[in-house]
Amino acid sequence: MMQAWLILAAALFSLGLFGLLTRRNAVGILLSVELMANAVNVVLVAFGRWHGVADGQVFALFTTAITVAEAAIGLALVILLYRQRQDVLVDAATEMRG
């Protein structure tokens, strides 16, 4: 049972990764990142449950908080990017190249 949850989390993580790699829209990328963060939470909770200690959930909460913060900042940047370029297509924004 325990391993099943972990595998589920891994699947979720991989799907999030796939989304990250294929999305062209910045917001889409943020979505995928949310998904991956969520997968991590699942793992934490699963182990929390397995060991029967509160730490699992405490960490899950921490990660949630950080993910939310990250989403907020990410969105702010996206808005700035949008204001700058009137679109949020990631592939075109290569001004920062070497």
Binding site: L15, F18, L21, G28, L30, G48, G52, A54, A72, Q86
Partner: protein
């Protein structure tokens, strides 16, 4: 036996939801599917007897992040919502990589012996609160500082300047404005 069935339902919905989030052509659909996925995770937490967390999950993710994303889409969508499908080209490559990662994780999960199980019993919210203020007090405090910083940062980054930014006239000295990039990606 019942647990497996419940797990099966939750897992299936989760996977379908996640898949749709990633492949939905229309961004709004993607966000909605994300909402569903997050909700089903909350259901998962219930199965894992982490009720407090399930509630928090629903509250934070489905409530907060979802609306945030919707706002994000609204603010940055000029073209009529239709999302052009991703490059066909690198999709298989991305899929391959994702599967690779998945295979790596599953292989790791299956091969590493699980540590001995701890005593059963659900973890109550009281225990979580207690551990917040004892074992992880520092992290807890730091987290509050972080969130404050994020709020200030987000506002500072995205606040609209007091003049219209779009026109070149309003260009404040010293702030280097990147050249306007029109739709086709060429510099204006």
């Amino acid at each position: 036996m019942m647990a497996w069935i419940a797990f099966g339902i939750v897992a299936a919905t989760l996977l379908v939801g996640a898949f749709r989030v990633v492949t939905a052509r229309n961004l709004v659909h993607a966000v909605l599917w994300l909402g569903l996925t997050l909700a089903m995770t909350a259901a998962g937490y219930v199965l894992l007897e982490a009720t407090f967390l399930a509630v928090m999950q629903l509250l934070l993710y489905t409530g907060g992040v979802l609306t945030l994303m919707l706002f994000g889409i609204m603010l940055t969508r000029r073209v009529e919502g239709v999302e052009v499908p991703n490059e066909a080209a690198n999709r298989p490559r991305a899929a391959a990589l994702a599967l690779g990662v998945f295979a790596l994780f599953t292989w790791a999960i299956l091969n590493t012996p699980l540590p001995p199980a701890g005593p059963g019993g659900a973890v109550t919210a009281q225990q979580i609160g207690h551990s917040f203020l004892t074992d992880h007090l520092l992290a807890f405090e730091l987290l509050s500082v972080l969130l404050l910083a994020v709020m200030v940062g987000a506002i500072a980054i995205a606040r609209t300047r007091d003049h219209a930014p779009a026109g070149q006239g309003g260009h404040r000295p010293g702030r280097r404005v990147l050249p306007k990039v029109n739709q086709k990606g060429g510099a204006a």
